[in-house]
């Protein structure tokens, strides 16, 4: 019943028609310390699943991490789906700390964890409509986007991997969002 409710809450919403005007192409660091442009390097033209975590979080972030690890295993090594975790606590979460955290969940290449200057992280979170001024009040959220069609879905981050796979499939098959002037 609860699961059904969670899935019902995962209704698609017109997020953005892709492009840098909607998702800022901020430069952040990945878990290997490399600089990445979030839109250009990770999202452009791809299907992406994003969650929002911090490594000192002791409650919902670990289950979300475990679900991401299991999702990556289900998608397999040849998937075109990118997994991205954005740190809500970049002051603490250094690249090496993020790497260590993700390794607990069996992370492999294809799952990118991001940290960086607080201002840049905040810009990204605001643009994605997941910003919370108090990281301890952040909700378990997963965003699934298909940049090629411009369609995004927001779902509960605690949904099991099988449901996320279904949502990814729906998004892959779904129609493109008509592009508007200015996007």
């Amino acid at each position: 019943m609860f699961l059904t409710l969670l899935i019902a809450l995962a209704a698609p919403w017109g997020f953005a028609a892709g492009g840098t005007t909607s998702i800022p192409d901020v430069v952040l660091q990945d878990q290997n310390g490399r600089s990445v442009r979030v839109y250009t390097d990770l999202l452009k033209g791809r299907i992406v699943v994003m969650n929002f975590i911090f490594t000192s979080c002791t409650t919902i972030c670990s289950p979300m991490g475990a679900n991401f690890g299991a999702l990556q295993a289900r998608l397999g090594p040849d998937t075109d789906v990118a997994l991205v975790s954005v740190s809500l606590d970049p002051l603490t979460d250094t690249p090496s700390r993020l790497k260590q955290w993700s390794e607990r969940f069996g992370a492999r290449p294809g799952w990118t964890l991001l940290t960086g200057p607080q201002d840049e992280i905040d810009r990204l979170l605001v643009a994605l409509r997941v910003f919370s001024p108090d990281r301890f009040a952040h909700s378990p959220i997963v965003l699934i986007g298909n940049d090629a069609t411009g369609r995004w879905t927001r779902a509960n981050g605690l949904l099991p991997p099988s449901t996320l796979v279904t949502l990814i499939g729906d998004l892959r098959a779904g129609p493109a969002v008509p592009k508007r002037e200015g996007h």
């Binding site: 699961l3 289950p63 475990a66 002051l91 969940f105 200057p117 301890f136 909700s139």
Partner: protein, 504 residues
């Protein structure tokens, strides 16, 4: 068995049980605590989430969500249940906020909840609650520990007494400073005890003054914690052994309020148990760079003259990044006067070499801006006024930070202790640590635990002890004051407060 022998045996058994409890927990309960907090048992523990997602128990330990006190820690819209003994064993039905209704738990029902995710009323627990597979022995230990949840069992806490420890400066290197800090803190808490203590508890201070190598000092602190079992270490001097002593505090799960240090561990490596008071060299260097940038960075080539002390390598690396961000061109790390020829801004980090370095600069007729944290500075820096060199010095605190009320308290304590005028910064820092401790203990409440104390520290915002700049802590901020006073030598306008924050 005669009656006398039986009485002696019972007395011996009671005394050994009490001895075990005095250390906090029995050995079985301690093992259970390891499972509860770390998710690690004698045998493998596996946690399973929805959809059969399996992870090691260490990834999702009970204490992660329910807190080490079992009272639940709300986060991300999830409110984990209170699983203290009192909450689970209430002798009547309980209806939760989500509408689950259940009666009291016994060991069998507790095991079912942990293994199958079904509460005492037969309802399914939250999706977030994993199901655990563990051995019978590990479950017995876990259940034994869970029966103690809600009991005040942290060391140093007694009904009418609270024991706090203080790590004094090493006797071999700084004997007089240790005596000073001890006298000031003793006098401060004597006054607090005369006023009734905190929640009716008298504060008893116990001291340790370890010397030798950093590892020797850490070993001394570890032995002290095991012998004296203080609730927390406050007003403690860790300079030169920050990493080692912080490691002991973490392993022994003992809060450590460090007094003043060059390498604030709280900022460098955020730790659950360690809090630092004022800016260390890294934060001071950052403030100096910001101050220099305010004077203009365009066209300035900068270098950090690093220390041979390996402990300062991180500071040098971080400062180069800060210089680059502030717009200085091609910042580099150099080992001495060589390599500084093209530079017109230098940050100096080698205390032992300052005098000779200044002489070398003078011989070469060097012109530019010199940045020096106060801990590196010596009197020659202030005596040598070269019109071609602008010298900026940073201070994590100044006597001017002390409020009139704090000055009155300080003078009263100096009167009681009959101390001379020396060691003012260390005394003020020790008193600030004591004031922060008292404030946090009051906010933690009568039902005291180390977790509650740390939570109280972490909810401290702009605490004005009156002795040092305002202190702010948080779950991701373990350094109370991140700013520094920056003084330009010879500038009559005086020092400027620059707070660049804790940075990335």
């Amino acid at each position: 068995m005669s009656r006398t022998v039986a009485v002696v045996c019972i007395a011996a058994a009671c005394s050994s049980a009490l001895a075990a409890r005095a250390g906090g927990l029995s050995s079985l309960e301690r093992r259970g605590r390891g499972i509860f907090i770390d998710g690690v048992g004698a045998a493998e523990i596996v946690a399973t989430l929805e959809d059969g997602v399996r992870v090691a128990g260490a990834v999702l330990p009970c204490g992660g969500c329910h807190g080490s006190d079992g009272r639940g820690r709300r986060e991300g819209g999830v409110a984990p249940s209170d699983i203290t003994r009192e909450a689970l064993a209430r002798p009547y039905d309980v209806t939760t906020a989500l509408g689950r209704r259940h009666g009291p738990y016994d060991d069998r029902l507790l095991k079912r909840a942990i293994a199958m995710g079904i509460d005492a009323g037969g309802n399914r627990l939250s999706l977030v609650m994993p199901r655990y597979v563990m051995s019978q022995d590990d479950f017995a230990a876990l259940a034994a520990f869970m029966r103690t949840l809600g009991d005040p069992h942290d060391p140093g806490v007694e009904d009418r007494r609270l024991v706090l420890g203080v790590v004094l400066p090493p006797r071999d290197a700084l004997p007089a400073l240790g005596d000073d800090v001890r006298a000031m803190l003793t006098a401060y808490f004597d006054a607090a005890n005369r006023a009734g203590g905190i929640y009716g508890r008298r504060i008893d201070l116990v001291y340790v003054q370890p010397g030798g190598t950093p590892q020797d000092r850490a070993d001394g602190v570890r032995a002290f914690l095991r012998d004296e079992s203080p609730f927390a270490l406050i007003g403690s001097f860790t300079d030169g052994a920050e990493r080692e002593i912080a490691g002991v505090a973490d392993r022994e799960e003992t809060p450590l309020l460090a007094m003043m240090t060059s390498n604030a561990r709280g900022a460098i490596a955020p730790s659950r148990y360690v809090r630092d008071l004022v800016a260390g060299l890294a934060e001071q260097s950052r403030a100096l760079v910001r101050a220099a940038a305010l004077r203009g960075s365009h066209g300035h080539r900068a270098a950090v003259v690093r220390a041979r002390d390996m402990r300062l390598r991180d500071v040098a690396d971080a400062t180069v990044g800060e210089l680059r961000e502030a717009g200085f061109s091609d910042p580099a790390i150099v080992d001495g006067i060589e390599g500084t020829a093209d530079c017109n801004l230098l940050l100096f980090l080698d205390r032992r070499e300052l005098t000779s370095f200044l002489a070398s600069l003078a011989r070469r007729g060097w012109k530019g801006t010199l940045l020096v944290p106060a801990a590196i500075a010596d009197p020659t820096l202030f005596e040598r006024v070269d019109p071609e060199i602008v010298t900026l010095v940073s201070f994590p605190m100044l006597p001017a930070d002390a409020t009139s009320q704090a000055v009155a308290i300080y003078e009263q304590l100096v009167g009681v202790t009959r101390l001379g005028p020396a060691h003012l910064p260390a005394r003020l820092a020790a008193l600030a640590s004591a004031a922060l401790t008292v404030d946090a203990l009051r906010r933690a409440g009568r039902t005291l635990s180390r977790d509650r104390f740390l939570d109280a520290i972490d909810s401290t915002s702009q605490f004005r002890s009156g002795f040092v700049p305002p202190l702010t802590f948080g779950p991701t901020r373990r350094l109370g004051s991140t700013g520094s006073w920056v003084l330009t030598i010879g500038d009559p306008s005086g020092p400027v407060w620059i707070d660049p924050g804790s940075g990335l």
